[in-house]
């Protein structure tokens, strides 16, 4: 619900005017940045290692190469090989999948990020929580601010346990929400154990100023809605990330660093989660969502 509250408040506010300005800021010491996950899908699971840079660096993030990267579930250990094409990206083999209820530990060795000529070791762990299936989804055509969007309404049973979700969507098998800021995150505090009878859970831009080409939906396209069941800590990480992405002094306290589950002062997150999916073909004449107004 807080997600809605934020959206609502934003739509209630008179927008100010913006302009670019030059600001001088100091720099900070170099830290390891981890961006990786393991899911219940059987696929190549990726871990990307980079380092921090000055805020106005304006170049691709410096990759960390030659690291020894492993994911272990306590008994099995998967070695991640560095990608030949993308430096700093490490991948498992394509037959690896995570199992619900297991805790996965990422370990990174053989790196010297702070350039002190001493090898550092980093670890992170995350558990895969169970996910319940989605019965169906519906697509509604509606307006969101100046944009026209497809709203995705979800019909599913929420289990009696406390859940934390990430909602995303794909169009014809291509993920439409790649950026962490486009993910919808949701806890079930307000609907725990209930049937989510058509709750708006994600949207795809159709037209308007914010429209992105990769999100364009046409009749006949297959929209896949994806519900990830994540840990509470990863949920908090994403919530902090999203609120720091665009800082609004009315609704936020002083900005603060986003949490991390990686040891040794590193930044970023190694997450593990389960996935439930549901498809729908975009109808020739989509339903129109019209609030009684």
């Amino acid at each position: 619900m807080k997600k809605y509250i934020n959206i609502i408040i934003t739509t209630l506010i008179l927008a100010g005017c913006t302009e670019r300005i030059d600001i001088k800021v100091d720099n900070t010491y170099k830290r390891l940045v981890v961006d990786g996950c393991i899911t219940t899908d059987t696929t190549k699971h990726r871990v990307k290692l980079t380092t921090t840079s000055d805020y106005f660096y304006n170049q691709p993030s410096p990759p960390v190469t030659g690291a020894d990267v492993r994911i272990s579930d306590g008994s099995k250990v998967f070695l991640l090989a560095e990608s030949a094409t993308e430096p700093g990206v490490y991948e498992t083999t394509a037959d690896v999948y995570g199992e619900i209820g297991k805790t996965y530990i990422l370990s990174i060795a053989n790196v010297d990020v702070n350039d002190d000529k001493e090898i550092e070791l980093y670890t992170a762990e995350s558990r895969i929580n169970p996910v319940s299936p989605i019965d169906s989804i519906k697509l509604f055509y509606t307006a969101l601010g100046p944009d026209s969007v497809f709203a995705i309404m979800v019909y599913a049973q929420d289990p009696p346990t406390t859940e934390f979700y990430v909602f995303k969507a794909s169009i014809n098998g291509v993920l439409a929400h790649e950026k962490a800021t486009d993910l919808w995150i949701q806890d079930d505090v307000l609907f725990n154990g209930n049937y989510t009878n058509g709750i708006w859970s994600q949207f795809l831009f159709q037209s308007g100023p914010t429209k992105r080409p990769e999100e364009h939906v046409a009749p006949g396209d297959i929209v896949t809605f994806e519900r990830n069941s994540i840990t509470k800590d990863y949920y908090s990480f994403l919530a902090e990330l999203q609120s720091n992405a665009y800082y609004n002094p009315i609704f936020r306290g002083p900005p603060a660093n986003t949490r991390s589950n990686v040891s040794n002062g590193a930044i970023g997150y190694f997450s593990a989660y389960s996935i439930a999916r549901c498809n729908r073909v975009v109808p020739a004449k989509p339903w129109i969502l019209d609030y009684p107004y």
Binding site: I9, T11, R20, F191, Y246, N248, P249, I250, Y291
Partner: protein, 790 residues
Amino acid sequence: MKMKNYTAMRIRFLFFILLLFNSGNGFSGDEKAVKRFTVSGHVKDQSNGETLISATIYVKELATGTVTNEYGFFALSLPAGTYTLEISYLGYKNITRTIQLQQNLTVSFEMPPDIQEMQEVEITAEKKNKNIVNNEMSVDKLQSKQIKEIPALLGEVDVIKAIQLLPGVQTISEGSNGYSVRGGSSDQNLILLDEATVYNSSHLLGFFSVFNNDAVKDVTLYKGDIPAQYGGRLSSLLDIRMKEGNAKKFAGTGGIGTISSRLTLEGPILKDNTSFIVSGRRTYADKLFLPFARDETVRKNKLYFYDFNGKINHTIDENNRLYFSGYSGRDFYKNKWAEMGFGNRTLTGRWNHLFSKKLFNNLSLIYGRYDYSLGTPKGEANSFIWLSKMEDFTGKNDVVWYLNPANTIHFGYSVTYHKFDPGKAKGVGESSIFNELKLRKNYSYEHGIYAANNQKLTSKLTFKYGLRFSMFQNAGPGVEYRYNTDHTLADTIKYGNNVIFNEYFGFEPRAGLNYVLTDNASLKASYSRTIQYVHLAQNSTAGTPLDIWFPSSATVKPQFCDQYAAGIFRNFRDHTIETSIELYYKDMKNVIDFKDNANLLLNKYMEQELRFGTAYSYGSEFLIRKSSGDLSGWISYTLSKTRRKILEINGGREYPAPYDKPHNVSVVINYDFSKRVTVSSTFVYATGNPVTFPVGRAEYQGVFLKVYSDRNAYRMPDYHRMDLSLIIRGKTNSIKSWRGEHVISFYNVYNRHNAWSINFVQDENDPNVTYAEKSYIFPILPAYTYNFYF
């Protein structure tokens, strides 16, 4: 300071009061030698019968005097004899009256308003130097008339915006109604409207205040040296008194403005005994502009606020007066997705009673309420409504004892019952999927008992001393959450009805000294301790209507503040120019800040997000003011420093408080070209607010996480702005009573794009590029208002 030896404390306090009264009896010993009588009464405006607050009554023969209280009442106990009384009040012609005091005397002084300013006013020097001889410091008074001439945002005359131009007061953000006094946070200001606490003084996200200037008589800001009569907030008291209504004739005031219109009606019900005032204001931006919006859904949006003030007073007899006043105001926004409403309501009933000519008593019963609601359209799966409310019920009794010209004693008691409902959210309609999320209501009592004396020790030295004893009680039904030192939940304890399950109390001494050096110069010093028991969960810089107040508890200790101040006051040019320099030092304990990435909305365990520590603030305030003549106004400059130190914030290192602005300048100038044309201008300059900026970045799933600097290590660009207004008054026509007035104003005359916030964003086209972007709210904004009086 937990309750331990309460009985012993109580005895000590009673002892203190007895001491105080004994010192009074020492003076009354004189009465046996020389027969003393009391002259008492009210000072009023001749044109409308409004009582005047803080008017000076000066006894020429004894070179002594007094000032009227909040109800325009005064009393002077003098030896029998013949005296010349001189009554003065800014903006009015002085009155001189000779009295034969052979018995107790009740008089009423009606002062003619000084319309022809700059006429030579024949008054002697002694009365113009009120600022020198008064034993009050760190106090600023503004009258409704002065506030009206200050250029206003979109022409909406605003009490709080005027307050923000005074030395020692900082605006918390552009256009905002929040203010910080001497380094305090904005929830440390007690705002009283006819004695009722106003918990949210903002309309429309703080751009306008809830106080309709047409209904306001008098505004006093205490920045320290808060009278013992008041407590409950650390930093300041803003005492706003509503007009009582014209007792002489039926009259009206109104205005048609750019965004709102106002109408005030007042008049006698029973001549000279009962009068009333009603005042209303409503904005109509939604009615005026939205119908022309291109988008149909926008046309259906709603956006307005309104205020309603009403007051009635009745004089039963010479010794008894009744006042009833109330305020109700609300903001309402609605668009396709959501609707939000919030507002305050207050009700005050008061009874002034004279036990004797020198014992003035006032009994007040007060109700105050603030609530908000936020919701979505009904009938959808995600339809919900979120409600929150807080209510205060207060009873207080204050006594002023005008013992003799050398001693004025105040004492009294107050109790407030706080009923806070921090919020519940629930689904609406049959198709809603939401469960109800309810935060527990909490109940508490706040008590205060005080006594104070203002004593003239010699003709040059005045000493003011008082003590307030305050107590706070959490009352059942309620739940106490106990936390471990790492802020995890340790225990949940439930309490039944009417159980007092947690208690705090404290002594709040207040003292002030005034030493008159010469006729036009004096030195003043003061010390005050203040304790605050309720706090605002406001993490953001600007504040929102959704911010909730919460009481002290087992986890949240009361905030304490010790303030020391000293100042020199000097008048020039026959007292037409007043200057002052004040220095202050404030030491605060148990101040509240919020942990990184705190979550304050609908959070049952909100106390987990709080962090406690200390703060200090010191500074100097310079003021030059000219109150009479064609050219009037003031220049103020404040140099200050405020730091906080909280164990788990910023690694336990000291950091600048959010409202720390080292340099702050305000210039207010009014110039009367003629009786009919006035030009008014304000200029403000302040160092930028401290902010936290990113010093590095880290890539995660296509976004850059920011690696932040120390808390508040950077500053926003400096803020400065100039406003102008031109007032053209219609001719005063003796036949028709209607008088019109045109006000043309410009906010931000040189169109500076003052940064409201600075954001660090990722370029849409090149994801590797990050840049800084400032947003500003108000460019140059012209406004026109037509005011009328009849």
